[in-house]
């Protein structure tokens, strides 16, 4: 073998192993996902995204394992026990979507004390030792009113569909909507119902309040309830208002039909279930020794009139519009927090 060939070969080897070497620090690390609920399409998509991205990462040797665990009953006590099991099993990092912002703090503190990196996302925890990838739900509510203010500057009556009563996400989105209405007093909330983020519950609640409402110009929502609202308006034979959607496939399909038939205009905003993969990469970066701020913010996934078709194409039939995050996306989110 000539010197030249040897040089070429070592250069090739360096090329193959070069990028991996930068990540080699975490190749022996094990990450666990502690998830509190799997009973709706958003959570199912979240778990599927986790599966897809982490399997690739494990196959490439970025981490040794990334195992998802879901509790059966959506109970904080059960999830606390689950986290304690993970501590015993020797995971290096725990990524958690928490049943409660405070009830898990004890178990999370134990994990931190055992030297485990804890990253909470979507359902975040208040324990200071954990990282938080939070959604700006208030901003999400406000953005709906801002959109409406641009679309119908003359204002009008709003029907608000809220989520599950007593959950902080519901309060935050609602606070954003109220703040938006205060800034744009030409809008007036004439009715408010709880749709529990479920199509059939929203349909039922809207059908019940509609007979008592004056003309409704727009419906502000929290996601998962737009199609049900549209059905209720149709059943009551009332003109279809501008209904803000929440990125579900059935909502987008309905929107597309209305757009084709009558040039219907609206927008759709929610959080991509793939946020679990963002949390995974953030945990990996922390294990890798990167400096990461404790509080990070997830970008919204917003769909507008012009990118509706493109998003519809990539959304699974019956699922939720989704994006999976890459290592580079995570690094961008980390950098933007500095």
């Amino acid at each position: 073998m000539t010197i030249g060939k040897m040089l070429l070969a070592s250069a090739a080897i360096a090329c193959v192993f070069g990028p991996a070497a930068a990540l080699a620090d975490t190749s022996g690390k094990k990450i666990a996902l502690s998830n509190n609920y799997a009973g709706n399409s958003w959570r199912q998509a979240m778990l599927t995204s986790w599966d897809k991205i982490t399997k690739e990462a494990v196959a490439k040797g970025v981490v040794a394992a990334a195992d998802p665990f879901t509790t059966a009953e959506n109970q904080a006590t059960e999830q606390a026990a689950q986290i304690q099991n993970m501590i015993v099993q020797g995971y290096d990092a725990i990524v958690v979507n928490a049943a409660s912002p405070t009830a898990l703090n004890g178990a999370i503190k134990e994990a931190c004390d055992a030297g485990i990196t804890v990253v909470s996302f979507d359902g975040i925890v208040t324990e200071p030792c954990a990282w938080r990838i939070a959604v700006d739900f208030k901003g999400m509510g406000e953005s709906q009113i801002e959109y409406l203010a641009k679309k119908m500057p003359q204002g009008g009556n709003l029907l608000e569909i809220r989520g599950l009563a007593g959950v902080s996400v519901d309060d935050n989105i609602h606070a954003g909507i109220v703040a938006g209405v205060e800034k744009n007093p030409q809008f007036k909330i004439v009715g408010s119902v709880n749709g529990d983020w479920a199509q059939d519950v929203a349909q039922r609640a809207v059908a019940g309040i509609l007979p008592s409402l004056p003309d409704v110009a727009a419906v502000v929502t929290q996601g998962g309830d737009g199609y049900g609202a549209a059905q209720a308006f149709a059943a009551a034979k009332r003109p279809t208002p501008t209904i803000i959607m929440g990125n579900r496939e059935d909502e987008l399909v309905w929107w597309k039909q209305q757009k084709d038939a009558s040039n219907y205009e609206t927008m759709s905003v929610s959080i991509a279930p793939g946020v679990s993969t963002l949390a995974f990469w953030v945990a990996q970066q922390i294990l890798d020794g990167k400096e990461v701020k404790k509080d990070l913010t997830v970008p919204f996934l917003r769909i507008d009139q012009d990118n509706l078709e493109a998003n519809l194409k990539t959304t699974q039939k019956g699922g939720v519009a989704n994006v999976e995050y890459s290592l580079e996306d995570a690094q961008k989110v980390i950098a933007s927090a500095d």
Partner: protein, 315 residues
């Protein structure tokens, strides 16, 4: 006066009185404009509660401790699997209904097998069953919403002579349940078992067979309701049955069926189902926040049960 007395002695009358009062209170706000729309919506949504309520009523009639907590999971699984099987084809509507009913039968038999063979109390047995069923539903299609066939969707959402088709289906099922309860030997048997399981056994009633049939009936009704609800709301969702667990029990109790068993009441289920829908609409119309709304709902339900239950204190 005497006749009026007779009417008020019927426990089901209270749920209807409550429903009518709440209806008026809601319509009053709108100045009478929404009367028709509200009644139409109430009939539509009450129908779903009636269908699951009927099944739960038969089970509760069996006596203390008998309850079926697998209702929501059964609805979800039946809705999911039936819609997946039909896959938007009108020709498969009957096949979808058949698979929903078969699933109901299987779940009902499973429930009673747990209760009888493993000697688990019904509340635990049906709860464990609901975990199995819910997980199967998740596994079956990962929470994806498949649209119902067009013919079925338009049937469930349209009306005949101004009455929602769904309500007509619920009335027919109620009539069948009434015949079953009042005019067949099976109806006598479940009442007898509910009043005293020991005495029923002594008189030679096939207690196990009757209970098996009752749990199966309840699961089948839940499955049919899931099939209809999924078609009505444009697709099955993994959490679609969640509302109907407490609802199925509440409409039975408010409707005047004895919680202790042995005494069931079909008209009351209708009154209670209409009432449950209307009370939420009323409180929404008056613009109460979720917290106040839930408290008031609880208080109003308590008041109706107390009014209807006056008779039982004497017993």
């Amino acid at each position: 006066m005497n006749r009026l007395h007779l009417v008020f002695a019927r426990p089901w009358i209270w749920s209807f009185i409550a429903a009518v009062i709440v209806w008026f209170a809601t319509v009053l706000v709108t100045g009478g404009a929404g009367a028709l729309g509200l009644s139409h919506a109430a009939l539509t949504f009450a129908a779903f509660s009636v269908i699951v309520g009927l099944g739960q009523m038969f089970v509760i009639t069996l006596g203390p401790g008998n309850i079926d907590l697998s209702v929501p999971a059964t609805m979800t699984l039946a809705g999911t699997v039936a819609l997946k099987l039909m896959d938007v084809q009108d020709g498969m509507i009957i096949a979808g209904l058949v698979i929903a009913i078969l699933l109901g039968i299987a779940i009902g038999i499973g429930n009673y097998a747990l209760i009888k063979l493993l000697r688990i109390p019904p509340i635990i047995a049906t709860l464990s069953m609901s975990f199995i069923v819910q997980s199967t539903a998740i596994w079956a299609n990962r929470g994806l919403r498949i649209k119902p066939p067009d013919m079925l969707a338009s049937f469930t959402t349209s009306s005949f002579l101004g009455i929602p088709n769904i309500a007509i289906v619920a009335v027919l099922l109620s009539l069948a349940a009434w015949v079953l309860l009042e005019r067949t030997i099976y109806g006598r048997w479940i009442s007898a078992i509910g009043q005293s399981i020991f005495a029923a056994r002594m008189t030679g009633i096939p207690v196990d067979g009757t209970r098996l049939v009752t749990y199966t009936l309840c699961a089948v009704l839940a499955a049919v309701c899931g099939y209809l609800l999924a078609s009505f709301s444009g697709g099955a969702a993994l959490n679609m049955g969640a509302e109907y667990l407490l609802m199925s029990i509440a409409v039975v109790v408010i409707g005047g069926t004895a919680v202790a068993g042995g005494d069931s009441n079909i008209p009351g289920i209708w009154g209670a189902s209409l009432f449950m829908f209307l009370v939420v609409s009323m409180l929404n119309t008056y613009g109460f926040g979720a917290g106040v709304r839930l408290i008031l709902t609880g208080l109003i339900i308590l008041a109706v049960i107390l009014a209807a239950g006056g008779r039982k204190v004497v017993r």
